[in-house]
Symmetry: C2
Subunit: 414 residues, 2 copies
């Protein structure tokens, strides 16, 4: 009944690669050129091209839904790893264009083989799907001859005070971030990429996010996290070109130039405790008011916080331990990063508490100068720590974008 | 710091109830009459009234997202249970109208108390939110003096062949189904109702669903489940008034008249196995083609299947073990029910397989005549059983709708 243990796609993908490279220059890695779409952003029909200088899904307007997956590479060769990244690039380019994951299927036959695509996205528009690939530190051990390629910025994250990490939710050799305005589309992407990896890499952990917690362009309304507060008001935006070039994209001239570094943190919120806390305490912890998101120093949502203003008893209006103060660039020697997180709820625990929180994602040019010092400051002093617990963590080198002739991560193998 | 262990809402709710009943007839249970909205269905602004003959969320056009929760009632009195249902009704009527869960908050003060509402739905429209309450068989034991009220149709579900139920995912004294086109709205509803229940009932299990798998009105496009097939083509629709009156709404003249019976089943799909199965086998199992959803006996999606047509070797075109045949009313002495399920993905297991499937929900006038015989037939013979595993289960009596003077379940206490 199960008549084809390994999806046909990977074999055909490989054929496309090897064959095409022989028969004609410029045919690239078997990707049909007509699939390369123009960028479009008309609601559900929004399409972001997979090919480009940078990967999509970073400064792309933050979509509403997330499926994130971390993979461990199986006992395969360097060439097989390269082939996997080629197959993933082929399928990602198709799916972000609104096509099925492979040439055959999900419903066209041949009938005696499994379809190339699982089918649940049939008839649906891509809804702004982006698929973003990353490489964890463990990929650069000696299994694949990549140790000399490990970027200095791809550090092993230090232990932060208060970390309560669960091994099954940490790390991974590879990651894929799939974002879309339709969750079925994001799930379909991860499912099909996971399927393509069968026998070559397997899911280590994965996370669905149902609501974005950041804006990445000025046109987007600031969303709310599960503390009920606006989140990401002070986030950098795609329009801040100079800032993005400096703080998001990796510089240099090696294989990571034009890439970025992704840090993910699964942050469980003890929302039942939070919900029994006074509004005054909630606003003190955040440093902004709950209704509008204005800093407690006054003004409106987008007014810059003034940390020097004091009130009764000369106490600062924005508490010394407030999140907005401790996360602010002025408190961190100018350090900042592009945030792109999502709200999550994963059922409930045995005590009847919702297993809920923030799946934090950020992008930066060098985590040693950005995420790490900011998180060290937050983990030591942030009043919010009473209401959160970091249970998952990941750091990934996100290579520059693929092109029609260079799959994702081609620079690893040059 | 935690200055109010029990939300103020319940106390004020109770005050409203007791006080109002004394000071003026018709003030009902403290619900502000101006909140009762007109039905509207314009996209994100869609509003379905909480009050009515039947509860909303049954024949209401199936919304895109689900948060379902089952609760165990704590060691409280009969009066306290009654009060909980009143408080829930008060908050549900507010939230479905796009208001906060309670009078104070989430952001208006008083500042030294916790807000009545957690805030993450602030600024968001209700997006068609419905909140549907149900009572499990265990509510009718002798704790609350309700044993004489237990409806005969609220049976303990039998064991079905192949059941792989996990105790933590089964049963519950109370259930709440929250559906909305915005997941943040559905999550907000369950979170706030769970909070209101603090000390009186606690979450037993809960489930997010990201994609509906049924249409309940003719205007809705048939969605796809995670087998990649259209699901719910043959579902009854709200427009089938005579059928709905007979098959969905409980008859009689007792407290359940105008109510319904909800059966939920958490059905894990072994999608990795399914995805390695040939298209021919997938279509044989379902009994429809994958592309259009037409029955294998011919025609288009909405053509009635003809189970008598045979093909090569006199084998029926629609297999004897196919899901469409075994679930069809003609195979089940006419039995049918209103399906209203959702796709789910809950991360992955240790083997790297997505923990994914269908959270099946159905409504019916009598599960003894509908869900039970149909599921007995399916569980014995359905070819699909090779690819699914039932891990969670619930059955709940869904009382008729609340009115301005009668909270949900008032009939339990008459």
């Amino acid at each position: 009944m199960v008549d084809d243990a390994k999806p046909r796609l990977s074999r055909r993908g490989l054929f496309g690669l090897t064959g095409a490279a022989v028969v004609g220059a410029g045919v690239g890695f078997g990707v049909d050129r007509v699939l390369t779409p123009e960028a479009s952003s008309s609601g559900a029909a929004a399409v972001y091209p997979f090919f480009g200088e940078h990967q999509a899904g970073i400064v792309t307007p933050a979509q509403d839904r997330l499926h994130f997956a971390s993979f461990d590479v199986s006992d395969i060769s360097r060439d097989e790893l390269k082939e996997l990244l080629e197959d993933w690039s082929y399928a990602a380019n198709r799916m972000t264009a609104g096509k099925s994951a492979g040439e055959f299927g999900p419903a066209d036959g041949p009938y005696d083989s499994p379809p190339d695509d699982t089918g649940e996205a049939l008839d649906l528009p891509p809804a702004g799907l982006t698929i973003t690939f990353g490489f964890g530190p463990s990929l650069f051990d000696d299994r694949f001859g990549l140790s000399s390629k490990r970027p200095a910025a791809l550090i092993d994250l230090p232990h932060f005070p208060g970390d309560a990490l669960v091994d099954a939710l940490v790390g991974g050799d590879l990651c894929i971030q799939a974002c879309s305005d339709d969750p079925q589309i994001a799930v379909h992407a991860i499912r099909n990429l996971s399927r393509i990896a069968f026998g070559r890499a397997k899911l280590r952990w994965s996370q669905l996010g149902f609501g974005r917690t950041s804006s990445t362009t000025r046109a987007q309304v600031t969303p709310r996290n599960l503390f009920g507060f606006k989140d990401g008001t002070a986030n950098m935006r795609a329009e801040d070109t100079a800032l993005v070039n400096k703080e998001v994209w990796a510089g240099g001239s090696d294989w990571m130039a034009g890439g970025s570094y992704l840090v993910s943190r699964k942050i469980r919120m003890t929302i039942e405790t939070w919900d029994r806390t006074s509004l005054r305490e909630q606003e003190r912890v955040i440093g902004r008011n709950k209704g509008e998101g204005a800093p407690l120093s006054g003004g409106t949502e987008f007014t810059e916080p003034d940390f020097s203003i004091t009130g009764r008893g000369d106490a600062p209006l924005i508490d010394e331990e407030s999140h907005v103060r401790l996360a602010h660039p002025t408190t961190n020697a100018g350090a900042t990063m592009l945030r792109r997180g999502y709200n999550f709820v994963d059922g409930n625990d045995d005590l009847g508490r919702l297993n809920a929180g923030l799946f934090f994602i950020c992008f930066q040019s060098d985590p040693r100068e950005q995420f790490v010092p900011i998180q060290l400051s937050l983990s030591r002093n942030d009043a919010m720590n009473e209401y959160v617990r970091h249970v998952g963590s990941g750091i990934f080198a996100v290579p520059p974008g693929a092109t029609e002739s260079r799959p994702i991560g081609a620079g690893l193998f040059d």
